[in-house]
């Protein structure tokens, strides 16, 4: 047994897929150590939506809406993740609803960030429409 196994959670090697976009998901993950890339594919193009760090969580959306995973999560470097399954998670929230505060806080931050990105994108599109021959 390796001493490094004395860390909590599960180990994922660099580049391993934690979950794929559109797959069914019944777990959320909290990063104990390392980084995780959240990616989305549109045709041949793969876009990195975010790179998450220690203490961040992901995969929680499927626990609430029961829809397939909205993006792919991939280990960037060696990663240790704590996995919480849907039933346990919902049980915890039902016992202590205030537990959802931090999740809502993070989700609100992500929505704000997305709003900002959309706004920037619209602004860029409008600029291109106004000055179609000017490339910045």
């Amino acid at each position: 047994m390796k001493d490094e196994e004395s860390s909590l959670g599960k180990d994922y090697k660099d580049g391993s897929i934690i979950f794929k976009e559109n797959s069914a998901g019944k777990e959320m993950y909290i990063i104990i150590s390392g980084k995780v890339k959240i990616m989305k594919e549109k045709g041949p193009v793969e876009t990195i939506l975010a790179t998450l760090d220690e203490g961040d969580f992901f995969g929680e959306m499927s626990l609430f809406d029961n829809y397939p995973r909205s993006a792919t999560a991939m280990a960037s470097g060696d990663v240790k993740l704590l996995e919480i399954n849907q039933k346990n998670f919902l049980k915890k929230i039902s016992k202590d609803p205030s537990l959802a505060f931090r999740i809502l806080e993070k989700m609100s931050q992500r929505i704000r960030l997305t709003d900002e990105k959309i706004l920037n994108h619209i602004f860029e599109m409008q600029n291109i429409a106004k000055n179609p021959f000017v490339f910045t």
């Binding site: 047994m1 004395s6 860390s7 909590l8 959670g9 203490g55 704590l82 915890k92 205030s98």
Partner: protein, 461 residues
């Protein structure tokens, strides 16, 4: 009853001063959650933790003395809250429990298939740790879980003062707190996170608010040095539970931590000799290296553990939390501290600090723990019977081994035992699962099988 003016409209205003007595997990959790929530709703509170001990030194005097096991459920809750347990605070991550009885043993793996349970030191580690550590790098690192939580509270804005509050007076509108005869300040709220070992609990009883501290029994904890490699190869990521019928011992466990193992024993009048007898038992000795012998001296303590509920753990501007209030029977004391501290913090910040507020919004959490402990005591009584009755004990082992061999049929009994000994679930939930008719029928079939096998053996002889 309280000499404070009875008032159901008491609430924490901007600039309110909170005195948290005790810097163990309950006090730190309360501080973290109260400060976070106050910030979230734009309330400015001034919170001071009074803790006489420094958790950085070695040995029992700097330790809040417990087995130091953080349940899987609490590890997950803390991670969601943003409190991540990592080395060097984390001593070992556990994914397996080994149940050793005199009829044999069985290994139970975590149902979540991950290393989900954390073992920690509450203080700076065992006496003479630095002299016996094999890995010199660890010796100067802060390893105390309690100190780590205090640091988390400090990050949220808590002040920490290393003195003991030895007097509280309730003569005016607000409780006055004193140390060595000197009045420190009038507190808007006093939080008693002082555990049951401290004389501070007695001080609260003397206030005339109707508070009575919970009933307690003594446990015995010892830290035995084995060396990192031996701990790793002999105990790995498993907590070993021993149900071996040692006289007066209700329960014994060995928990791996760094280069030590913690031996926890529960029962009547456990002494150092009981530990030596336990370690000399062939079933226990078998777990240790051949060349190993019980050391003459080892770090040990006799903490009290809460086995009952406190009466009236709140009043106007006063609330008791953690062990000083309600704790889960035999298990997950840190988890109980988390639950009661969070409920008290939510009440104080969102609802108010009157007796009525605490009764309405805080006390249900204590009552739920107390009610759950009734089922806990039933479950432990059953375990005791199983331990003392060879046929039932062998049937249980057979059932558990079958479940491990045939996972397709489910882990009904294994998860009941796992949740009970890890403190992962409420005893009520475990009890309901344990009386599942299908599980009871399977158990009964196993009992008859064992009786049949015994008769067959006798008949052949």
């Amino acid at each position: 009853m309280s000499k404070l003016k009875e008032n159901s409209n008491l609430e924490l205003k901007n600039g309110a001063r909170i005195a948290v007595l005790g810097g163990g997990p309950a006090g730190s959790f309360f501080s973290i959650f109260a400060l976070k929530l106050a910030k979230q709703i734009g309330k400015d509170i001034d919170l001071t933790i009074f803790e006489q001990k420094s958790f950085l030194n070695e040995g029992p005097s700097s330790c809040n003395m417990c087995a130091g096991v953080v349940s899987e459920s609490l590890v997950q809750l803390l991670a969601i809250e943003g409190i991540i347990l990592k080395p060097p605070i984390l001593q070992r991550a556990i994914d397996t429990y080994n149940f050793q009885t005199i009829s044999g043993d069985v290994l139970l793996n975590s149902p979540s298939l991950q290393r989900g349970i954390a073992t920690v030191y509450r203080g700076g580690g065992p006496v003479n740790k630095s002299a016996s550590e094999t890995n010199g790098d660890d010796t100067h690192k802060k390893i105390s879980f309690d100190d780590f939580l205090i640091d988390c509270a400090k990050k949220e804005g808590a002040k920490v003062v290393n003195i003991r509050i030895d007097k509280i007076e309730l003569n005016n509108d607000k409780p006055e707190i004193f140390s060595k005869g000197e009045k420190l300040f009038d507190a808007d709220l006093v939080v008693g996170g002082c555990g049951i070992n401290a004389t501070t609990a007695k001080m609260f009883e003397g206030l005339g608010i109707g508070y009575t501290h919970p009933s307690v029994i003594k446990a015995f904890q010892s830290e035995i040095h084995l060396g990192k490699t031996n701990v790793l190869t002999r105990f790995g990521n498993a907590i070993h539970i021993f149900l071996i019928n040692q006289p007066d011992v209700k329960f014994a466990a060995i928990t791996p931590k760094g280069s030590y193992v913690t031996v926890s024993m529960l029962g009547k009048d456990i002494t150092k000799q009981s530990v030596v007898d336990f370690l000399s038992n062939p079933l226990v000795k078998n777990k240790f290296p051949d060349s190993w012998s019980t050391p003459d001296a080892f770090c040990r303590c006799v903490p009290k553990i809460n086995v009952g509920a406190a009466r009236h753990p709140f009043a106007d501007r006063i609330v008791m939390i953690g062990d000083a209030s309600s704790a889960r029977l035999y298990k997950d004391g840190i988890g109980s501290a988390y639950m009661t501290a969070k409920a008290a913090a939510n009440t104080a910040i969102l609802y108010g600090i009157s007796d009525t507020d605490f009764h309405k919004h805080y006390y249900p959490t204590c009552k739920a723990i107390n009610r759950d402990n009734f089922f806990g005591s039933l479950m432990f009584a059953v375990t005791d019977t199983v331990n003392k009755t060879p046929i039932i004990r062998e049937s249980l082992l057979r059932l558990l081994r079958n479940e491990q061999k045939h996972p397709e049929s489910g882990y009904k009994c294994s998860t009941v035992l796992w949740d009970m000994f890890t403190g992962n679930e409420r005893y009520t939930d475990i009890f309901v699962r344990a009386i599942d008719p299908r599980l009871l029928l399977t158990f009964l079939i196993n009992i008859f099988s064992i009786i049949f096998i015994r008769f067959k053996t006798i008949w052949r002889q």
